[in-house]
Symmetry: C2
Subunit: 143 residues, 2 copies
Amino acid sequence: MDNSTSYKTKQRDQILDCLIRNKDHHITADEIMSVLERDNTPVGRTTVYRYLDKLISQGSVRKFFIEGGKRACYQYMDQNEACSEHYHLKCVGCGQLFHLKCEYLDELDSHIIDHHSFKVDHSKTVLYGCCGDCAKKTGRNQK
Amino acid sequence: MDNSTSYKTKQRDQILDCLIRNKDHHITADEIMSVLERDNTPVGRTTVYRYLDKLISQGSVRKFFIEGGKRACYQYMDQNEACSEHYHLKCVGCGQLFHLKCEYLDELDSHIIDHHSFKVDHSKTVLYGCCGDCAKKTGRNQK
DNA sequence: TTGCGTGCAAAGGTTTTGCATGGCA
DNA sequence: TGCCATGCAAAACCTTTGCACGCAA
């Protein structure tokens, strides 16, 4: 992934901290900058992008594309969650990410390999849709 | 979706034809322009983007983001396939799109609604991974 | 004839790069 | 001290917009 030596800096701590504080939902590069600016700990744009890339290649952060891909969003993925082993749901309404730890879903992979000769990559796959809370708010029946 | 009147033009025919000829895999806006240029029927960049948007809002074309979202790709979706009713697999190796028409997968939606209170939107969801052919080529065992 | 479609040029917004300076270990 | 990290400014990139002209119906 990334074997180069890496220094611990104030800026990186702040970026990572901001991502962790927002681990339930995605956040844009611009939003990270705004948050840090409000906290009176501004970080340069270049640094944000470069560190995000680093975190992505390490697997600590995932990049999402919402609204037809107009904007890139980033979200912290807890290493302890073993995210490569399960599916993820992302609500297009509120942006919340759900970790789908579930036996039924685990069988899905075997089914797809056996019947469709295809190996799903969980690190690249996200199921988009609408969560229960958002369905209630919009008054739409989920089924 | 799109109720405005719409003219049939040479350019649109060419763009659509190009997309249909490439319906098995995604293609970028730039590639569409290159193909049409090679065919000695060049179409302006603006026209390509504007017509793609139109096709997307009609549901005839889907937009994908590959390679970490650096480039937007487009792919024709046959209306007769009833794509909103099934899942799709996209191979990150060859770009091929597979329509997952399968009873087992149909049950998946009910499971996710019942057990996870989440309604998956098939028009926004793509399962990324590696297809059988690409797995053979790279010599990697799928399981 | 009407008004949608086209395409050039320019603008727009996000992300990346070059390079000199700063700071961790 | 040796590298890696930072951040400004500028570039690169893809996509959208303004506008005058063209063309389908």
